[in-house]
């Protein structure tokens, strides 16, 4: 018998069988037992052999908040790889480490928070505004890339569709959520129907298509309805239009927001009812404790509660973590694989791909400054508040690394005794002085100046960390509750950079941050700039190898770097107008997709320039030859963009392929496009094909003037016409 493909297991039949078993268990539960199962700290029901289970765990870039694990680069830096296949491999490693930790912890009967297999990752919200503190958790500002990377992460983490889920992933925060952090419990986001369908929802649709087991509703309202209590969002769109078959979990405390801050219900009982009726199955928080009363008042049917609990037990059965549903292969994963040498090696590669080279101007000898020649250096200054910062390696939602290679430690390890490294912290990350007792601001600047003066070159490591950009409740200080108020370097970091530049030494600026910042790109004294995001526990190792040419920088920008804060639209406005590379009207400092390579590349179209738009069900193949015409090996992410003359967006990313080529090496690539890749939405949010002609480019970035000015490699181009 041919088996039908399941939602996220190999076979539909197995999913149905497990669903029946789940329903059978629910049928034997009392009302109180069922209500208890809808809360994230689900108690045991010994009578039915159901152990206690805490649903809350995190694995955004490695198993988080639960002790030692491989701490990969932050999500925004994983996105810089532009490589779904790579991310899928990495997510599979996270899933394995999650299993190994779960096996060890449940063997010790530790079933507390952060000990389960339901990971509330990834975050596929659109990084629509660079000020959002949690943008670092996302895959950037492009819906298509977010969907591709998120889907790959989900498949890898969940075990790529076997008979059992390796772990359960969760797409969050549905449906629209991206700041302001301070107002998230009361905010009402009002995107247009066009933006909702064309920008905010596509990543979620891609994750549902990949079989994501859970979806988390956001805190805020969309169009007046709280996300976790909206039948339109959870019912019509998520389950109806997208075909979601897993369970919906609320963000933590989100249901209390209904009566506390959104003022859409009178009390907690009504809030519980609203969420349950809308399709929320699991509550991170305590509001669902009121379901018993809600059912007594007749606000919720017991049948709806049964459906929710059945979904939750189904997830646990799919994971093989209820008695009799064992996942033998996974149950045998030993603790030894956590932080294994293989995983550390993968983490180094992830860090290399996280590093985006933004500027590499010629030095005195006419060659680009990077890579540096180790033999021509005797002393190197390493300065800046992030130079020896562990926090700036990992971002938020992080695990504990067995070893943190900061930029300073990476350079020290790499250079050993051959080059004398002089280190100065230079300034506080955001305060105006290091020592509160200091009589003047900039109390470490004289030291930094001395260190620069005594060195052959200066590596200046600036930026942010998750203590000042992040989530409401976690991050703080004058930057608001996690969001940035400005894209400028905080505190006295600008002054510190000026000290480095004034030294007259070659300066390499390394930015560690989860979001775009403004940097003095045009300053001729500043030869090289790298943005390394939050590059993970091996970030310093990768950066050292890149600076000295042992490895190639592999990343491209998953977000636009703007020139000013002032040009940004109102943060509270969820219209995409003026935002991101797809709609911005200003000239970017560094465009989305941009990143330099140690190589330089030629892109040649193979075949005709003018082609016919593919029909429905038809696939168009665009062949292109890519040659490294430079003198060094280099990595490049070849990017395909489409733009339609009748479309609202300027252009949209629709393909990526990662290459590493030796000098002179060439490769022929084929990009496949179908009609759907050209589609967009009308004002009512329905899919439609915009008027042509349609343009396609394949190159090292976008086909637009600023990218070509920064990286003058002409893309291959096609024009597609209907008919």
């Amino acid at each position: 018998m041919k088996k039908a493909k399941g939602y996220n297991l190999a076979a539909r039949e197995r999913e149905e069988e497990l669903r029946e078993r789940a329903a059978g268990l629910v049928a034997r539960m009392t009302l109180e037992e069922k209500v208890a199962q809808t809360q994230y700290r689900a108690p045991a029901i010994e009578r039915l052999g159901i152990p206690a289970y805490n649903w809350w765990n995190e694995a955004l870039h490695g198993v988080a908040r639960a002790g030692t694990a491989t701490v990969f680069p932050q999500a925004i830096s994983l996105a810089a790889s532009f490589d779904p296949d790579f991310l899928g491999r990495l997510a599979a490693v996270i899933g394995l480490e999650g299993r190994a930790k779960y096996n060890a912890q449940s063997a010790g009967d530790d079933r507390d928070i952060y000990k389960g297999l339901t990971f509330w990752s990834p975050n596929v919200n659109l990084f629509r505004d660079p000020r959002w503190g949690r943008g670092q958790e996302t895959y950037g500002e492009d819906p298509w890339l977010s969907g591709r990377l998120g889907a790959a992460f989900v498949r890898g983490l969940q075990g790529n569709g076997g008979d059992t889920l390796l772990a359960a992933a969760c797409a969050k925060h549905f449906a629209v959520h991206s700041g302001p952090e301070a107002e998230r419990h009361a905010f009402d986001a009002r995107p247009s129907a066009y933006d909702l369908a064309d920008s905010y929802l596509p990543a979620f649709a891609a994750l549902v298509e990949a079989g994501v087991e859970a979806v988390m509703g956001a805190y805020n309202c969309v169009d007046g309805e709280p996300c976790c209590g909206s039948g339109r969002l959870l019912g019509d769109i998520l389950r109806g239009r997208m075909g979601f078959e897993g369970h919906v979990v609320s963000d933590c405390g989100a249901l209390g927001d209904f009566h506390l801050y959104h003022h859409v219900t009178e009390d907690a009982v009504e809030s519980a009812a609203l969420a349950m009726n809308a399709g929320c199955d699991l509550n991170c928080g305590e509001t669902f404790v009121h379901l018993t009363e809600a059912i007594r008042r007749g606000l919720v049917s017991e049948a709806r509660l049964d459906e929710a609990v059945t979904r939750l037990l189904l997830t646990r059965l799919k994971l093989g973590i209820l008695p009799g549903s064992g996942a033998e292969e996974y149950d045998r994963i030993p603790y030894e694989i956590v932080d294994s040498p293989e995983h550390r090696e993968l983490n180094l590669e992830a860090a290399r791909r996280a590093v985006v080279l933004l500027k590499n101007a010629p030095a005195a000898d006419g060659r680009p400054l990077l890579p540096l020649d180790r033999d021509s250096l005797t002393t190197l200054a390493v300065i800046g508040p992030n130079a020896n910062s562990r926090a700036a390696l990992v971002g938020n939602y992080e695990g504990t690394a067995a070893r943190y290679q900061t930029v300073l430690a990476g350079l020290q390890d790499y250079l050993g005794d051959r080059v004398r490294i002089r280190y100065a912290e230079g300034c506080h990350l955001w305060r105006d002085r290091m020592t509160g007792l200091a009589g003047r601001a900039g109390d470490r600047e004289a030291e930094a100046a001395a260190v620069c003066a005594a060195s052959d070159a200066v590596v200046c490591v600036l930026g942010l960390d998750a203590t000042i950009e992040g989530e409401e409740g976690d991050a703080g200080n004058e930057f608001g509750s996690g969001d940035k108020t400005s894209l400028d370097l905080p505190g006295r970091q600008g002054e510190l950079l000026e000290i480095a530049l004034a030294s007259g030494k070659p300066v390499i600026l390394i930015l560690l941050s989860g979001s775009a910042l403004i940097v003095p790109h045009d300053d001729p004294r500043l030869a090289a700039i790298l943005w390394a995001g939050y590059p993970g526990a091996r970030g310093g190792d990768a950066i050292a190898r890149i600076l000295f040419g042992e490895a190639a920088p592999g990343g491209h920008l998953p977000v636009t770097f703007y020139r000013t804060t002032e040009e940004l639209p109102d943060f509270r406005d969820y219209s995409m107008r003026g935002r991101t590379y797809r709609y911005m009207e200003t000239d970017a400092l560094y465009p989305f997709g941009y990143g330099l390579s140690y190589g330089s590349f030629r892109f040649e179209r193979l075949g005709a320039e003018e082609l016919r738009l593919p029909q429905e069900e038809e696939e168009l193949l665009l062949p292109v030859r890519v040659t490294n015409v430079g003198t060094r090996s280099g990595q490049v992410v070849v990017q395909l963009y489409v733009s339609s003359e009748g479309g609202k967006a300027k252009r949209q990313l629709r393909g990526t392929q990662s290459l590493e080529l030796a000098p002179g090496e060439a490769v022929e690539l084929g990009f496949r496009l179908c009609l759907r890749d050209f589609e967009t939405c009308d004002d009512a949010g329905r899919r439609c094909l915009p008027a042509g002609p349609h343009h396609v480019s394949v190159g090292a970035g976008q086909d637009e003037p600023r990218t070509l000015e920064l990286r003058p490699e002409e893309p291959a181009r096609w024009t597609l016409v209907s008919g």
Binding site: P180, A182, E183, L260, E266, D267, A268
Partner: protein, 397 residues
């Protein structure tokens, strides 16, 4: 016909205080000899500053709830339902055999039995040994834990469940020996339920709010009235949120208006200033409103505003703003106008709310004042003495 003398001074103060303290909105109501002689609302009621403040504005009354709770309890007192000296445990068994905390010579924490029970009068006079929590003190830490457990066990716990849970914690001190601002009146709410056999909110509705026509006063605000609720000023919340940070917005527009089973007798009521004026002016007239609604007898109101503290407890009652005042049955009461720097009369009494509401009652002058800011913490020590001074200064000869 009563009229104020040069009430323009109050106008300009309201405007000035609104600006100076970034209150964004301030209001003042005055009744003299039973007539409303002053009512003015300045500024806005919402966070954004777009909606004008007016008589429909619903304030979080916070601790001004206390005086209503004490009035309700005194109604039961004068109905002969209890003696002030009765042990609380006679009515609520969880309150029998209380323990208090003692810190031993080497810093160890001991729970020792109390020598005498907590009496009902101790609840009125903030002398029961309870706390408001929030510090690192071992009792406060236990209290926080107990509250969390209660929330977990009951979800939305009731007034009685809360009071019973408090009884399980050790007291700060031997009952009756100190004055400590605390959850005493929350327990009083539970006691009213026990003695009256009514839900606390039902009791208040039947015996206070309905008779006085206080239609907008309750422990929660229905959704359709939420737009009338007063937000806190953006630049005027706890220090942490100052400097116009975005963080203030959520806190300021904030929670507290929803329906909960716990009806806090110490701070849970919301209402308009007009409603509160009806209540306060009734006490100014020693328990019977000018329209003839009787809440309490004359003697009971006198008992309420007597000085109930002994020297030891008066030493505890030492906030700046309390200089010249002592404490009665849930109210401050003016005993020394000179020490208070007050141009008013001894026996003036009242209280204040954490989010900037304040009121005073003076039977001698038949003067009642209700003031409302939208700021947390309130600026009682800066603003109240001036408002009080102005009110007396504006009285006609």
């Amino acid at each position: 016909m009563s009229q104020l003398y040069d009430a323009g001074r109050i106008d300009s103060y309201l405007e000035r205080v609104t600006e100076a303290h970034q209150l964004t909105g301030a209001a003042c109501l005055i009744r003299h000899r039973g007539e409303l002689v002053y009512e003015r609302y300045v500024g806005s009621r919402d966070y954004e500053g777009l909606e004008p403040l007016d008589e429909t504005a619903i304030y979080r009354l916070f601790s001004m709830t206390k005086v209503i709770t004490c009035t309700a309890a005194l109604q039961l007192y004068e109905a002969g339902r209890f003696r002030l000296s009765d042990p609380v445990g006679d009515y609520m068994p969880a309150w029998r055999n209380m323990e208090r905390l003692e810190i031993g010579p080497t810093g160890e924490i001991l729970r020792v039995p109390c020598r005498r029970p907590v009496r009902i009068v101790d609840l009125f006079t903030m002398s029961a040994g309870l706390s408001y929590g929030g510090s690192e003190h071992p009792i406060d830490v236990e209290m926080k834990k107990a509250e969390a457990e209660l929330g977990e066990r009951c979800g939305d716990y009731s007034t009685r469940e809360f009071a019973d849970a408090l009884a399980g914690l050790p007291l700060y001190f031997e009952p009756g020996t100190h004055w400590r601002y605390s959850l005493c009146h929350d327990v009083l709410g539970a006691l009213i339920e026990e003695i009256s056999g009514q839900l606390f909110s039902d009791y208040l509705e039947e015996h206070i709010f309905r008779p006085l026509g206080m239609v907008d006063t309750a422990f929660w605000v229905p959704v359709e009235k939420r737009a009338r609720c007063v937000a806190l000023s953006p630049a005027a919340t706890w220090r942490k949120y100052e400097a116009g940070s975005d963080l203030s917005r959520e806190v300021a527009t904030m929670a507290g208006f929803e329906r909960r089973r716990f009806e806090s007798g110490g701070g849970g009521l919301k209402g308009t200033l007009g409603d509160y004026m009806a209540f306060a002016d009734c006490l100014t007239h020693l328990g019977t409103s000018v329209d003839g609604v009787r809440l309490l007898s004359r003697g009971t109101v006198e008992l309420m505003r007597r000085d109930h503290l002994d020297d030891a407890r008066r030493a505890d009652y030492s906030w700046d703003v309390q200089r010249g005042y002592s404490y009665g049955l849930g109210v401050r009461t003016l005993v020394d106008p000179a020490a208070a720097g007050s141009n008013g009369q001894p026996g003036e009494f009242g209280w204040a709310g954490a989010a900037g509401t304040w009121f005073m009652m003076d039977p001698a002058e038949e003067l009642t004042l209700v003031f409302g800011q939208r700021r947390m913490p309130n600026l009682e020590d800066q603003v109240a003495p001036i408002v009080r001074t102005l009110a007396y200064a504006c009285l006609p000869d």
